[in-house]
Symmetry: C2
Subunit: 240 residues, 2 copies
């Protein structure tokens, strides 16, 4: 039997080149949406509702009596309760609760995939690398590793995470995809110095202006919140 | 004085994210359009006219009494005289002549850049790496390294060439661009084994089916036809 295919999509602007319908779509936004989502669900939240806009988050938060979170330009957005940091959500605070989270790149990509007809969407980040690899390997389906990027420009940290997945699962898939090959080669070159490499990236410069170095270090730590995350009925849930 | 910016655009589908108007646009199609163009002009051709379609190439070829060339699916396209191989164009054959060349990915990207208002367009490949670096460094302008890719999917060989350029010229530019960072890191990882690495790529598998290994080796040889190529008035010319 032939193995399922795996492709890496380095930017939402390239998503139209791939068939999302019968694939597992892995939404990747390492700094910081999908890392924070892993943290929140790992720490026992009931579910996370991803929303495009601040006003949408406020509205849904009021409707459900849920916690709202989201940042714009590195600060908690006006009208919301919390920020995008994975470190803000220990179990003592978030267990059992619903979080309404608004992010830009990650949420937009998720909604693009759904609009294109995706039926299986999960989220991935270094924080839950193992869970992502286990799920896609067990699924028997084709896989699209979809990087949220930054305003559609390719970014290193999402590509690196795709490379980490490719490196771990390549024997289970047929991979005719140079983006996957390049991501895996990049990951293999810098995996022992992820933090040093990251300090050269555009997102590091953006986030370090807001003093978010500790967040970034957390987001680069493999399996620090190793819980699978799946999208269903408008929300993100713990798998299983 | 601040240094000009340099960005790498990994696919034509990402070109809209960048401002081509005041930049030097470097069109990169290593296998094989921009490699063959470097060979043809290095060997003394008068000019190369890039054309989108086979029928367009036939028409212009007849009008000008020029040599026509182009392949589809690895064979000389019906109605044309020659193929896309750089090895088909020694000086004894091509010096002083005009070549009408139809390719798919490379020509399309060139026309996209012109349509977006690009005023300075050059072509680049490993064959003329040195000339490309000299030109963009001397220009004092912002630079976009634009990969032709394969039907808009990111490919390794064009990305690697962008990485070779970034590695050579980085001290002359301000580079806030993860695609450039990734391309340079990739090039640095595989430059001593370009041929081995290339055998894992999608384009290698495509072209090796047509027995084009020797072509690919030529196309990966730095400065083997080190002549600058610039677009002007509908054609590609030797610089200077």
């Amino acid at each position: 039997m032939s193995r399922p295919s795996l492709f890496t999509v380095l930017s939402p602007s390239l998503l139209h080149l791939y068939d999302v319908k019968d694939a597992v779509v892995v939404v990747i936004d390492v700094f910081r949406a999908t890392s924070t989502i892993a943290a929140v669900l790992h720490n026992g939240a009931h579910k996370v509702i991803p929303v495009d806009t601040v006003s949408g988050a406020i509205e849904i938060g009021q409707e459900l009596g849920a916690i709202t979170a989201g940042e714009r330009d590195g600060r908690i957005a006006e009208g919301l309760d919390h920020g995008n940091s994975p470190l803000e959500y220990p179990a003592t605070f978030i267990a059992g609760k619903t979080l309404v989270l608004t992010t830009t790149n990650g949420t937009r990509l998720l909604h693009m995939a759904l609009r294109d007809g995706a039926t299986t969407v999960i989220t991935g980040s270094f924080a839950n690398l193992g869970s992502v690899c286990d799920f896609i390997t067990a699924s028997g389906k084709n896989v699209l590793l979809c990087c949220a990027a930054w305003k559609d420009r390719v970014n290193s940290e999402d590509s690196l995470f795709a490379g980490a997945v490719v490196s771990a699962v390549s024997s289970h898939f047929t991979i005719h995809c140079d983006a996957s090959l390049m991501a895996a080669m990049l990951y293999s070159s810098v995996k022992d110095n992820l933090w040093n490499f990251t300090q050269q990236t555009t997102h590091y410069h953006r986030l370090s202006r807001y003093g978010l170095q500790e967040d970034m270090r957390w987001c680069l730590t493999e399996n620090i919140a190793n819980t699978g995350v799946i999208y269903r009925d408008g929300a993100l849930w713990r798998m299983g």
